[in-house]
Subunit: 573 residues, 2 copies
């Protein structure tokens, strides 16, 4: 029997990737990446630092180009490969990234008059323009429908579906009125590939709907019209135009259209799985199972765990959501996350250390003529690795892009303290890494405080792949071994796993994961001494976290700088 | 009658300057600067960031070289000038910068076996190794002699005389035991020039003794032996070996020795005034008078005010000191200060933006090939000037080197908050400038809270001279006009004024100041709108200041980041 393959399509913040995977063993035989062409690295920005949009034309063009290029690459690398061996497609995307569509399911940004209107674009996950709207949704839900909030950590985020739509209604009513419905990017792409033209025929994923749009089978799907009308009567009416068909990723939304088959060379009618968020399918591609936390670490993180839906689970305050079937069928999917991780390191290098050479070939921090100069990620990482925990006396909060879990508050910002007149960029860089590790620990603790035991942490994503220093610091800070997913493309791999399941190549997800996913042999183990110091530092981090992030904390911070100096003294001695 | 001149010798952190001044009109006819040769830019450092020492050989060599060079320069620039027209010398130095000396008043660092011993050097003002000792002195004084603390702001600093000596006694007893006595740099130089070889014959200035060594005529001079013995019996014994002769700057310590006259070409026996700290003589050179605050802004600041000693004055908590006659005879001298100002800007440019070109010739922040790169002071200042108050959303504490006034606490460190993923170096640079302005306002407020009315602020020093953006921000933050001293070398000028008084060229300081000092025509006036925004920001600064800097503050900081975002939104709109 011929080898069979599936394609995972992975829509990231700056680019889209197609990955062709052997369903028998998970071998990633070929892939292609295409950078979006609109905006700055694919993101349309403005003077308002909260605004981040994408043009949907990039999504359609990206699917075509990457599928074709990946197939061509597979033909070169695999003897006898032909596109007819591809039996299914899976799709994962960023989210919540909703976009307004017309009656035919076409993005209204495709209409000439809206082609450059920022509100007609896809509202990228990290768009925070809806901060006021999120607060309003939270306040009204708190009064009318507390159960809505209980499933999404107690606070509705500006990053999510309804905040963005309500914001559009207010600042760009012409766009809202021109839209028949709004769809998540994770649902738009499978719909486009399978030709589901009317939003009401769309099959939406429970992942996006459940985590970001307060959809829950218990209360009959999306928030009721009465609640939505309280926000705005037009929002109440919109509800009826959203699809009632919401499913887990164990089913297909339809078959590939003839038009798409023709332009890509793939067989007509092969199943396209229900779409889901990159992190959720990344967790699948990393072998997520009860007891395993998967951390997808990139510009931000998503932290995914699952728990069998046969057992009652408490609502966990601060989580992005608990949704039955959002990761794997038969399990509650629990999503947490940090609003910025790699983005903080990138900010420091690109904004605060501008002009560093892009390669690491030059000797560390010194130009050829011997003068010190700005440093690259590689140089800063190398120098940071030489520092001991506590040695710099610095402590940072990882809030440059707000705090997703456990505070669910976009109106927070970064903080760095402990600077002297001798503080170096490498010390700051390490403090920023440590801050994200403290944020990660806060999330793990929150899971466990509410009965979701974490016995294993699997990391994936660019930083987990490329930066052993970050992984070691995470192990030392959390006091837990850090495992790394075998695949460098777990999200795309997870999509390919979903495609394999809906195409019938494996009987269920457990089998498909066993065959197609795995871990790297290297495990980062915590150093006892480093962990002891980090325990002291984490106590101070938590004090800052609570002092700036909560209303209930009362006290002063008189000891924070002094204890850092104390720890620095002990470590340096 | 021939024109008469005096020489002001000004010992800074990195160099010494000699300035030749016409006593009739304050014209600065010639000068010379010599950089110390020991350590890094004249400062001996170690791995301990608290340590900062200087080699006394630099002091002696510096006097000779700069006097000779200044005289040579005067001969070139003033027709008919000859060294015989110089009628006196004044000396100002950094402080508290004590050094151990032998029975003959010679620095023990001049002995071969101590030539490289860090404890045998001068303990530079910014040496903070005596933090624990300062805390102990404060604690014991609080119990035994609360009056000692009342005159120095309530807390004895690690920067001061006794903390350093006690520290030396503990970590380098071999140095302490080899020393006959300890003298302040401000007293050492006049003594060396006039040949007072035994410490007991030294005339010490009341400025250093009163502000840094708890000397007060009311309690019989230096702290009593019982108190000092409580710290360490050897300290109690040291007291008897310190000079009992402590005076204001209206008298001379003696006449220039034949040896010094010979090597410099100056007349033998011309009077050398009692030495004082640079800031105090800088205040004299800026025309200090009751109601006028003089800010000497350099790497750190000293803020000097005076109040007639005929009127009772309350003790002001947090001030570096209130000492009768320490600035001008007949007045209480009040000294406050910020531990780092220019040093913070230098840290940011030299450490965090390394490798920027040293000239401002390149276009702002962009190298010739168009790539962004690290920025210089000039570029950052230019970019910072374009920002509106509150526009960055940033807020900083100016504590990278601790806090001198009003907290008197070295165990504090820098803080920056409000960072997003788009925060730029120019925004941070401006936030650091603003932080020092908030620190300056806190000092002005403290003076006025205790009845010392400030009706005029005169700035001097490198930053006041060179950076109109900083001056404008100070005006906008404080809501007060910022005046700038006419002289670019007010400390050296003040020393020359002192020399003119002790040489009898003017009948008193008021007359000498009127003739020899003045202001620049440009006054920086506060902008009403900017001041209104800064009032909001200062409230938040003060909240951070009190939360991290005091034990008595109770609350949370939940609103700080949110209000900054709010203000940013209003300003950008």
């Amino acid at each position: 029997m011929a080898t069979l393959y599936t394609i995972g399509l992975d829509y990231g913040t700056n680019s889209v990737r197609a990955l062709i995977v052997n369903v028998a063993n998970g071998a990633e035989v070929a892939g292609a990446v295409w950078n979006y062409t609109h905006g700055t690295q694919g993101v349309i920005l403005s003077r308002d630092p909260n605004l981040a949009r994408q043009h949907p034309a990039d999504y359609v063009k990206g699917a075509e180009i990457t599928i074709k290029q990946a197939l061509a690459a597979a033909k070169k690398s695999v003897r006898g490969f032909n596109a007819g061996q591809v039996i299914g497609i899976g799709v994962d995307t960023t989210g919540s990234t909703p976009l307004p569509v017309d009656k035919n399911g076409q993005p209204i940004a495709f209409q000439k008059k809206f082609a450059n209107h920022p509100a007609a674009m896809a509202w990228l996950w990290k768009d925070h323009t809806g901060v006021a709207e999120a607060a309003e949704i939270t306040a009204i839900a708190k009064k009318m429908r507390p159960q809505f909030l209980a499933k999404c950590g107690g606070t509705y985020s500006s990053e999510w579906f309804w905040s963005k739509i309500l914001r559009c209604l207010r600042v760009a009513p012409e766009v809202f009125n021109a839209a028949h419905a709004w769809v998540e990017l994770a649902d738009y792409v499978p719909a486009a590939l399978t030709g589901m033209e009317h939003p009401k025929k769309f099959i939406a994923g429970v992942c996006a709907a459940g985590h970001k749009a307060m959809w829950n089978a218990k209360w009959g799907g999306y928030p009721d019209a009465q609640f939505l009308s309280k926000l705005n009567p037009k929002l109440g009416k919109l509800r009826a135009r959203l699809t009632p068909r919401v499913h887990s990723i164990d089913r297909a939304v339809g078959g590939l259209t003839a038009a798409w088959a023709k332009k890509t060379g793939l067989p007509v009618g092969i199943p396209v799985a229900v779409g889901a968020f990159d992190a959720h399918l990344g967790a699948v591609g990393s072998g997520v199972a009860p007891g395993t936390l998967v951390k997808i670490i990139g510009t931000s993180t998503c932290d995914i765990a699952i728990s069998p839906n046969t057992k009652k689970l408490a609502d966990v305050p601060g989580l992005c959501g608990i949704v039955d079937g959002s990761v794997l069928p038969g399990h509650f999917g629990l999503e947490a996350g940090q609003s910025a991780v790699g983005d903080i390191f990138n900010w420091f290098v690109n904004y605060i250390q501008p002009g560093a050479p892009t390669t690491a070939s030059a000797s560390s921090g010194t130009s050829r003529d011997g003068a010190r100069r700005s440093a690259t990620h590689e140089e800063l990482t190398e120098a940071a690795a030489k520092l001991k925990p506590g040695e710099s006396g610095l402590l940072a909060l990882d809030w440059n892009n707000g705090n997703r879990t456990i505070l669910v508050d976009q109106r927070l910002t970064g903080l760095l303290l402990g600077q002297t007149l001798y503080t170096t960029p490498a010390e700051i860089y390490r403090a920023l890494i440590e801050a994200t590790a403290f944020g990660a620990l806060t999330i793990i603790n929150r899971f466990e405080e509410y009965g979701v035991k974490i016995s294993s942490v699997v990391n994936c994503g660019g930083i987990a792949e490329k930066n052993p220093v970050v992984m070691q610091i995470y192990a030392d800070v959390t006091g837990r071994p850090m495992k790394v997913s075998r695949s460098a493309q777990t999200c795309a791999l997870g999509s390919a796993v979903a495609a394999a399941v809906v195409a019938g190549a494996h009987k269920d997800y457990a089998t498909a994961q066993k065959r197609m996913t795995g871990l790297k042999p290297k495990v980062f183990k915590p150093d006892v001494k480093a962990h002891a110091t980090y325990k002291q530092l984490y106590r101070l981090y938590r004090k800052l976290h609570d002092a700036f992030g909560t209303k209930i904390w009362k006290g002063n911070l008189f000891d924070v700088m002094k204890e850092l100096i104390e720890i620095r003294g002990v470590v340096r001695h």
